[in-house]
Symmetry: C2
Subunit: 398 residues, 2 copies
C-alpha cells in the first residue's frame, strides 16, 4: 500500500508557491511585466561567465569516461580540497579535503548534517523567522523542529527564549545567516553569545549541542561588510552551503557540508555522510557540476542588483511609514504588515498586482517577505502600486 | 552528539571497493595495464556524442537564468513528457508526464520508490544474487530487506522460496532485470508468474504488494532480444531507471521513477515523491543534466563491447570447465567458483593479478562476479592469467 504519511502531506501546499502561481496566472492576464512579483527567491542574474566557460572546457578537454564517471563515495577529492582551501583563505579556517563533503545544494547538506548529529526522537532548534523547508527537512530525519520566537527589533537571537526551548533532547541548533526571510546577518556578538550559551547548555545536559549553519546567502552581503563565519565561533559547527545564490545556479544542485576541524569528531563527519548518502539515495552531486563549481570558488554572479534593489525598497518602505529592519544581506526584506493579519494584508495587496508573502509561513505572523531578486526597473515601477495599496487600504498619505 | 548508528557503519567496507583498491595499488606496482581488474561496474565506453553536444547546445543557446534555474518540485515538465513518450513508444505503455519523476540516478529513484510504498517496520523482498547497496537503501528507509535464495540454474525466480518469505508485512518486491551480478534477464514467463503470485499474495494479505523494478542495465541486452518490461506484466509497478549505463554518465546522477499508469494510485505517486524529496534532501537532479538526458532518450553509448567481451569470457570459462549461466545482458557474469569458499577463490586469484569479486557480497556464496566493462584487448590478455590460475590452484588442464 502507498505510504499514508506522504499521501497526507499532499494537502499542504506551500504558501510561497501559491502566491507565485497567482503571479504567473495574473501575468498571463495583464502581462507578467505588470505583476510586481516579490514572491519567489529565484536568482535573477545570470551565472558568472566563468561557470559556463568551465562547463565548456570540461566538455571539450576531458575524457568523457572520466568526466562523467562515478565520484568516489565521499565526492571528488580535488573539488573537496579546493573548497577547503578557499574557506581557509576567506575565513582563516584550517579545513582539509577530509572536512568537506559535496552535496546537492544546501538541502542535501542539511539532510546529511541533521542525520550526522541527531537521532530520531531528538529536537532541533531554529529561530523565527525561518525558511519553511526546515520543517520537512527536520521531520524527514525523524526529528522535531522547535522554533525560537523572533527578536523583531533586529532579527538577531533572543537568547532567553532560546534557553527556554533547549533541553536534554536538543541535538543541534540550526541557524541561517544571512537570513531568509529577514535579511539579517548574525553579528560577531550574537555568534559569541550563541557559542557561550551552547557550551554552557552542553555541559548542563551532559552532551555537546551541534551548530548547523545554513549559509547559502553568505556572498550577498551589503555595505561592504565582512561575514562573521559561524564555525569560527563554535567548534561543533557543521556549515551547509549552496552555490545556488552566489553563482545563480539553483537548478544545478551543488553545495557542500564542511565539518569544523576543531570539532571532536571532525574526521568522522564526512565518512558518516558517505554512509548517510546510501540510505537517502543522495550518492554525490553531478561530477561535471562539482568540477565547474570548484572552478568558480573565487567568483560570483554580479550580485550588485540585490543591494541596489534593497536600498530602493528600504527607502520607499520607510517613506511609507513601514516598520522594517534594514537587511544586511540576501535578496529579502521582512517588514511589519500594516494590520495584524499579514495574510489579509498580502491578499489585499494582490488587488494592486503586488505579490507579497505573509510571515506566518516563516513562523513570524504580522510580517511579510519581499524577495527583490527582480529587475531594478520593475522595483521602481512597483512603488506606484505600493503607494496606491497603502493609501487606499490603510489611509496612508505621504 | 554524533549519530552512533552511522558511526558504527563506518567499519563495514564494501568488498567490491576493497578489491578495486587492491587493483589500483597493484596497478601502481606493475602498471595498471597488467592488472586484470574485473571488480568495478564502471562503464568503460564514452557517452554518446549527442550527450556532449546537447550540453554544449544548452550552454550556448539557453538563457543561463532559465537553464540553471530551479526545477519545479516534481522536476522539469518537458523532460518528464519526453521520458513518458519514449517509454510508451518502446514498451507500449501509456505514461504521461504525470507518471514520471526525474531522480539522481537509480539510487535516487529507489529511495523515493521505497518510501512511497512502504512504511518503517515493513519488509522488502529481493532475490539473490542482488546488488549489495539494496541493503543500505532499504534499511535507510526504516525497512528490512529479505533475500530470496537464488535459483542458480538460470538465475530466474524460485517462486516457492519467494512465497516462503512473503508475509503480511511485505510492502514490495524489488527486482533487478537485467541483473547485477548474474547478467540474467527475467523472461516474460518469469514476470507473468511473478505477477500472478503477487496478485494472489496481495489478496491473501488484504493489501496489494508493489513491484519495484530496478532497470539500469535495460539497454545492455545481448543477442538482439527485446526486453520484457516488468510494468507491462503487473499494474502496481514502480520502474526505477538510471542513464548511468546506457549513456555512460554514472557521475551525472540522472535517472527517473515511472509509476505504472494502471496502478490505482498512479496519479499520487509522483506528487508523493515531491514530498519525500523534501525529507531526504533530494530536490531534483541537475537541470542541465535533466535536459541533456532528455535529448538522448533514443541513443546509447556504443554498448557492443560488452557483448563482445561477454562472448569471449563465456567461451573461455566454459573451456576451462566453469559452471556458468550465460548472461542475457549487463556487463557482468557470475560463474561458480572452483571451491566452496568464493572468498578464498578470489583471494587466490589476486596472485595472478585477477580482480574477481566473491558472490557472498551479493547474497550468493560460492560464486564470483566478473565486471567486464574493460577493453576487449585486456579481456583477451587476461585469459593466460586465468588459465594459469585455475591450472596451478585447481589442477585444471585443458
Amino acid at each position: 500500500m502507498i505510504a499514508q504519511h506522504y499521501k497526507d502531506m499532499l494537502g499542504g501546499k506551500s504558501v510561497i508557491r501559491e502566491i507565485s502561481e497567482w503571479s504567473t496566472a495574473r501575468g498571463a492576464e495583464i502581462g507578467y511585466d505588470n505583476v510586481f512579483d516579490y514572491s519567489l527567491g529565484n536568482p535573477s542574474v545570470p551565472c558568472p561567465a566563468e561557470f559556463t566557460e568551465s562547463c565548456r572546457r570540461l566538455l571539450d578537454s576531458c575524457d568523457p569516461v572520466t568526466l562523467h564517471g562515478y565520484s568516489p563515495t565521499l565526492t571528488l577529492p580535488a573539488v573537496r580540497a579546493a573548497v577547503a582551501k578557499s574557506l581557509n583563505r576567506r575565513f582563516g579556517m584550517d579545513y582539509t579535503a577530509d572536512h568537506i563533503f559535496m552535496t546537492s545544494g544546501a538541502a542535501g547538506a542539511l539532510a546529511h548534517a541533521l542525520r550526522c548529529v541527531a537521532v530520531p526522537g531528538q529536537n532541533i532548534l531554529t529561530f523565527a523567522p525561518y525558511f519553511p523547508e526546515y520543517k520537512p527537512y527536520v521531520e524527514g530525519a525523524g526529528l522535531t523542529l522547535r522554533v525560537v520566537p523572533p527578536r523583531t527589533e533586529d532579527f538577531q537571537i533572543d537568547f532567553d527564549a532560546m534557553e527556554a526551548l533547549l533541553d536534554a533532547d536538543t541535538a543541534a541548533v540550526l541557524i541561517n545567516t544571512p537570513n531568509n526571510p529577514s535579511g539579517a546577518v548574525y553579528s560577531a556578538r550574537t555568534l559569541t553569545e550563541l557559542a557561550d550559551r551552547l557550551k554552557a547548555a552542553g555541559k548542563r545536559f551532559g552532551h555537546r549541542i551541534f551548530l548547523i549553519s545554513d549559509e547559502p546567502y553568505r556572498e550577498i552581503l551589503f555595505g561592504g561588510q565582512s561575514f562573521a563565519y559561524p564555525a569560527k565561533f563554535y567548534d561543533d559547527t557543521l556549515t551547509c552551503y549552496s552555490f545556488s545564490k552566489s553563482l545563480s545556479v539553483p537548478g544545478e544542485r551543488i553545495g557542500y557540508l564542511a565539518a569544523c576541524p576543531r570539532c571532536e569528531e571532525a574526521s568522522l563527519i564526512v565518512p558518516m555522510c558517505g554512509q548517510i548518502s546510501r540510505g537517502i539515495g543522495h550518492n554525490c552531486p553531478s561530477s561535471m557540476i562539482q568540477l565547474a563549481a570548484a572552478d568558480c570558488l573565487d567568483v560570483t554572479s554580479d550580485l550588485q542588483v540585490y543591494e541596489t534593489n534593497m536600498e530602493l525598497i528600504w527607502d520607499e518602505l520607510k517613506r511609507l511609514g513601514f516598520t522594517v529592519v534594514k537587511p544586511d544581506g540576501t535578496f529579502y526584506i521582512f517588514p511589519k504588515a500594516l494590520e495584524e493579519d499579514a495574510n489579509a494584508f498580502c491578499r489585499k495587496a494582490m488587488a494592486y498586482d503586488l505579490a507579497l508573502v505573509p510571515g506566518d509561513t516563516f513562523g513570524c505572523p504580522g510580517y511579510f517577505r519581499m524577495a527583490y531578486c527582480v529587475g531594478t526597473e520593475k522595483v521602481r515601477r512597483s512603488f506606484a502600486a505600493l503607494e496606491r495599496f497603502v493609501s487606499r487600504e490603510y489611509g496612508i498619505e505621504v
